[in-house]
Amino acid sequence: MRPVSAADIPPDPSPDADVIRRAQAGDAGAFTTLYHAHAGRVFALCLRMSTDRVRATELAQDVFVKLWERLPQFRFESSLGTWLHRLAINTILESLRSELRRTARVSATDDDILLAAPAATAPLDVQMDLERAIPLLASGPRQVFVLHVVEGMPADEIATLTGLAPATVRVHLHRARRHLLTLMPQ
């Protein structure tokens, strides 16, 4: 068994280069075409890296705003899908890091908890339901598990991107697997 490699990633759904060039030049219609080609992939990543659809929507919005801002820098050296995937991961990690700093300073009120609570206490179905179990993981293990196992990113790359020590990445991954197993029906 091996981690997912780039070769496992489905073919880039990007429209042709002409659409990308038109979006680079400021054509909003072309940008919308790019959005439709990639929104599902980006949203899936955002949803699994965060804990709920609300936060995932915010993250996906940030990713596509950054795509618009940085699209002129895209040089066709890789597929747009690969380039956007990296942009999305960086945007998500940056946002989650600043959120962590913010929440460390501000303690949540009961109302915050009531309103923002993810479905963390919902009972799991009998069938293995990873989509519902992943959000129950703590932030660090969840991000490492999603990036490494679901997205196929090598552990050393995760360490570089997140600023975590490689050993910490391994610990997070171990904890994520163990925790998920406890959440799954035997």
């Binding site: 596509f64 801002e69 309103l115």
Partner: protein
């Protein structure tokens, strides 16, 4: 190094790799992206093409439309709470953008208005205790939103205020969506 030895962990990894690569984003996401790009004006979308499905209104008509939106949202809030006009439920805190910095939240307001209207139609299907919880939560969000929007008007460049408003709007939409789904079930 990262490959699990435990067969159960291997099965877990297999299942994780088999998760769908794409998940349908919420329908409002594209509008939110366009709004955010328009508000930041880093590399502004051309007006005509930015939102091909929307119509550009003359300034006066747009203001009138926003006024109508405010009235509708207020009305939908009253519908939700029955005949208690004093209650302020399911309404946007300040629905008429008085500064350009607030225009970026127009799509949130539209969505909230639609959901509130739908919820008001199904009010009779909800238990009174449920309605009470929904109303209280919406009131709290709206009060907080009013404060944040006022702060944004004073400091339109503040990213943290904008982020706070987005979170509150998303909380409101999420609550309205869940409440609407609850009333439909």
């Amino acid at each position: 190094m990262t490959l699990p030895v435990d067969p159960r962990e291997r099965r877990l990894d297999d299942a994780a790799r088999a998760l769908p690569r794409e998940l349908a984003p919420p329908s409002e996401l594209l509008g939110l992206v366009h709004d955010a790009i328009a508000s930041r004006q880093v590399r502004a979308l051309p007006q005509a093409a930015a939102a091909p499905v929307r119509t550009e209104f003359p300034r006066g008509l747009a203001a009138a439309a926003m006024l109508l939106v405010g009235v509708l949202i207020g009305a939908s809030g009253m519908l939700l709470v029955g005949r208690t006009p004093a209650s302020r439920v399911a309404s946007a805190p300040a629905d008429i953008p008085s500064s350009p910095a607030l225009a970026q939240f127009a799509s949130y307001d539209r969505e909230a208005r639609d959901l509130a209207a739908r919820l008001a139609e199904r009010r009779a299907t909800l238990r009174p205790e449920t309605i009470s919880v929904i109303e209280r939560s919406l009131r709290q969000i709206d009060d907080a939103l009013a404060d944040v929007r006022a702060a944004i008007e004073r400091d339109p460049a503040s990213r943290s205020l904008t982020d706070a408003a987005r979170r509150l709007y998303n909380q409101k939409l999420d609550l309205l969506r869940r409440s609407t789904a609850l009333s439909a079930s």
